[in-house]
Amino acid sequence: MSAGPAAVPAPAISRRFPPVAELTTASLALVVVGGVLMASYAPRRPPLGVPAALAVGGAVLLLASGYLLTRVRPFAWDRFLLVFRWALLAYVISAGMIGFAFVKDHIRGAPLALVLVMLVIYALDVPLVIAFTVARYSSPASHAGP
């Protein structure tokens, strides 16, 4: 078991990470813009081209962020997963409430499907950025991966 200076981890504040938070926040921004575009047409049926493109962009950024996150070593995965699952519960409830309002307002078909896709991205983005921000300043546990 090494106890030399090389084993001392870098201070949390100075450690560099891939742009997980930035990509996830950009993903969130894209779905928010898409949501604003769709809401601006309510109660009419909105054109879906631009919102769909924004949702796809949001999904791609979320996936890229998740991919970069899985490559971070070492990382406080236990802390990340603890925060992620509780934040996910909170934001699934939040997204569910927004989705309920759309269903209640008789949004149907492709617009509803697109809204639900955006809500799924939203419900994953926010817990991811919260959990990453907490975990990046936490000490990694003994295991190296999720």
């Binding site: 926040t25 928010v32 926010v126």
Partner: protein, 203 residues
């Protein structure tokens, strides 16, 4: 939260530890209140009750706007000038309440507001309020990205840092700077919301 027990936080000396406040990242006693508010908002939307929707939107929006302005423009600058122990103690007591309070107020205001606008016909393109509402979506959209992508993660990360036996002062200072800056930005943007909403209410 199962792992959100009471943990000592703040400075590190033994004497100070004894005096430090305990921290719950999510105040469990507040969860029933949040649940009650969420159920009330869902019932208001499901029933399309004008009074309940107006209450949720006006009361939630007033609290959201006032708290944002107060924290961003009054509390934030004061906090920045406090001594480190005072700042740590204030943060330990203040931030957990914000974790529950602000998302609940935002959800209550926006969900009820959209339904209210739909019910009152303000979403119709023929309504004189339509363009103002679209502007308000944009303002709220920017605030949402700042609050959800930057402010809230910083808030929660500060609390986790303060729960450690030896909190890193540099991490807390960095995250608190981020919190105060973003609270200030959303506070200023709330002025735009006030202008828009008073226009909508008087046209």
């Amino acid at each position: 939260m199962t792992d959100v027990g009471n943990v000592q936080a703040g400075a590190v000396s033994t004497a100070q530890v004894a005096a430090r406040p305990t921290i719950q990242v999510v105040p469990l006693k507040g969860l029933p209140i949040v649940a009650a508010v969420v159920v009330f908002v869902i019932a208001a939307i499901a029933g399309n009750w004008l009074w309940a929707l107006t209450f949720c939107h006006v009361a939630g929006g007033a609290l959201w706007t006032a708290i944002d302005l107060f924290v961003g423009l009054i509390v934030g600058p004061i906090l920045g000038r406090l001594s480190l122990p005072a700042r740590a103690e204030f943060t330990a007591r203040f931030m957990p309440k914000m974790v529950l309070l602000m998302p609940t107020l935002v959800l209550m205001t926006l969900a009820a507001g959209f339904q209210l606008a739909l019910k009152l016909g303000n979403l119709s393109p023929a309504s004189p309020n339509h363009s103002w509402l679209v502007v308000s979506y944009c303002v709220v959209g920017v605030m949402a990205v700042i609050a959800l992508g930057v402010l809230e993660p910083a808030n929660i990360a500060v609390l986790f840092e303060m729960r450690k036996p030896e909190p890193d002062g540099a991490v807390i200072a960095t995250l608190m700077r981020r919190f105060v800056l973003t609270a200030g930005i959303t506070g200023v943007m709330q002025v735009a919301t006030l202008i828009i909403m008073t226009r909508v209410a008087t046209q």
